[in-house]
């Protein structure tokens, strides 16, 4: 999957999860701030990303994934979730 396709897939997922329009969201925009998410909504969004892309964000770094770019970079690095 190209980076462009990955970004589109991520935007579609965020759109569905947050029920907010993310098409105009910049790669470095703060998701919580721009989408008006509360802290739990931010976690729900990361959970959706983990499930959809079969990745697992490191617990101690959850607060770092607050922009599309950060999430995309992490997915691209593909540390897939251990199915066990």
């Amino acid at each position: 999957m190209s980076e462009r396709e990955l970004e589109e897939e991520l935007r579609a997922l965020l759109n569905k999860t947050s029920q907010e329009e993310v098409a105009t969201l910049g790669l470095d925009d703060d998701l919580v701030e721009r989408l008006g998410l509360d802290s739990l909504a931010g976690l729900r969004l990361l959970a959706a990303v983990e499930k959809h892309f079969a990745v697992r964000f490191p617990d101690e770094r959850l607060g770092e994934f607050h922009t599309l770019r950060r999430i995309l970079e992490f997915i691209t690095s593909r540390p897939e979730e251990d199915p066990s």
Binding site: Q19, E20, L35, G36, L37, D38, L40, A41, L43, R44, L46, A47, A48, E50, K51, D59, E60, L62
Partner: protein, 434 residues
């Protein structure tokens, strides 16, 4: 004519060691900060009750600056938490010295009207419904009375009900908006200093009125998170389901306070999740049934305490997080309560925890009992009614033991590692539901 409605905001912990802890463990005062930063629904309701031909301004003041110029009004109405009441009195005194009449109202004022009357031209007790319109009319004809009593029942019925003026919040940066669906709670816990002290019985707002209020708030705010300003929203499950079905189309995220019995109703839990309820705050008070004897007159909490763990797991499995509230310093608590509470919280899987110290707010049965028993540390301690400062001599430990144990427990519960674990737990629950 212009009326200034002023809400005293912000609450500061007084015990220095605890205030310091708040800097290093910010989560422990999180909930208190959220509550203190909410707009005053009481004053927005007062604004709604004000005749259309009177201008109303809504203001919030955290601290009174004696050098600051006062904004000019014809009449000022001030409402405050107990912890900020002295600041409210200071502000009231300043306005009165400037020749501007002041009305004081709110929960503390309703409980201590004689004290408040020393700083006001008039005090308004209980809810504003049934009293504020008359107060404004009396004021306009120069006949303001020293005391008004609002209705204690029928507050949501016409012609007394008024929709809160959420439009007064336009342009302000609130991320949480309060809406009330009920006033009072039949449990009548001894320590409770919430709206039940203002009512003679449980008051339930009709669903269509609540929905209209939420729609009205949505018109003036962007992405608000709604906080229901109720003592116990789901006392009436039939009403609850009707309400939840009605708000599903609104697509909001929201929070409320209720009791553990919601865990018994699958349909209600489904509707909670579907309607965007992200968290319910439940007063568990303690982990041990014996600690809960006498908390509420019917013994309801004690009877339900042995199923706390199962109920928490069940509610959270629906993606609705439980903010479990515990009170330290109950009659039965001994110095081993802190480690035992930590153990229970670890086992519970609670996604959020709020620990406070027993606080004898003025006007509560707890305050009256402690006063009779002579265990209050000071006669007047309103500025220490922060839910974190100790104001009485506990029965089975010393004040120092309670304070030190509380600090130890905060350090155990509110550290980064525990917070991260709760975040991960929530994400795993969400993933199971996707």
């Amino acid at each position: 004519m212009k009326i200034g409605l002023i809400a005293m905001s912000g609450v500061r912990v007084r015990t220095p060691e605890l205030a310091e802890l708040g800097v290093t463990l910010p989560q422990f005062v999180n909930r208190g900060k959220v509550v203190a930063s909410l707009p005053s629904l009481g004053l927005l309701t007062v604004a709604g009750l004000t005749p259309d031909n009177v201008d109303v301004a809504y203001r919030e003041v955290a601290e009174v600056n004696p050098d600051e110029e006062l904004e000019e009004f014809d009449l000022v109405g001030i409402s405050s938490f107990a912890a900020q009441i002295d600041e409210a009195y200071l502000l009231a005194d300043r306005y009165r010295a400037a020749g501007i009449p002041v009305v004081l109202g709110g929960l503390h004022v309703s409980m201590m009207p004689e004290e408040a009357a020393e700083h006001a031209d008039s005090v308004l007790l209980y809810g504003a419904e049934g009293a504020w319109p008359k107060l404004v009319s009396d004021f306009r004809r120069g006949a303001l009375q020293p005391r008004y009593e609002g209705l204690r029942a029928g507050v949501f019925e016409e012609p007394h009900y008024a929709r809160p003026r959420f439009d007064l919040l336009r342009g302000r940066a609130y991320n949480r908006i309060t809406v009330q669906t009920s006033r009072g709670c039949p449990m009548n816990c001894e320590f409770c200093a919430a709206s039940l002290r203002l009512t003679s019985s449980f008051q339930q707002k009709p669903v269509d009125k609540v929905v209209a209020e939420i729609r009205s708030a949505l018109e003036v705010t962007t992405h608000p998170f709604f906080e229901l300003a109720d003592d116990n929203t789901f006392i009436n499950k039939k009403w609850g389901k009707e309400f939840l079905r009605a708000i599903i189309p609104l697509g909001i995220n929201w929070f409320t306070e209720t009791d553990i019995s919601v865990a018994d109703d699958d349909e209600l839990l489904d509707l909670l999740a579907e309607s965007g309820c992200r968290q319910i705050l439940v007063g568990l008070e303690s982990f041990n049934g014996e600690d809960l004897v006498g908390i509420d007159p019917s013994g309801w909490k004690q009877k339900h305490s042995d199923r706390y763990l199962e109920a928490i797991e069940r509610i959270q499995s629906y993606g609705v997080t439980v903010n479990g509230c515990f009170i330290l310093g109950l009659e039965n608590h001994t110095p081993d309560v802190f480690s035992r509470m930590k153990e229970f919280i670890d086992r519970s899987g609670l996604l959020e925890v709020q620990i406070t110290v027993m606080t004898p707010f003025a006007g509560t049965p707890l305050y009256e009992r402690m006063r009779r028993q002579g265990v209050l540390l000071q006669e007047r301690f309103w500025d220490r009614c922060t839910l974190f400062d100790v104001n009485y001599k506990p029965k089975r430990m010393s004040v120092d033991e309670l304070e030190a144990g509380m600090r130890w427990l905060f350090g155990q519960i509110y550290n980064e590692r525990e917070y991260t674990q709760r975040q991960r737990h929530y994400m795993e629950i969400v993933k199971k539901r996707l």
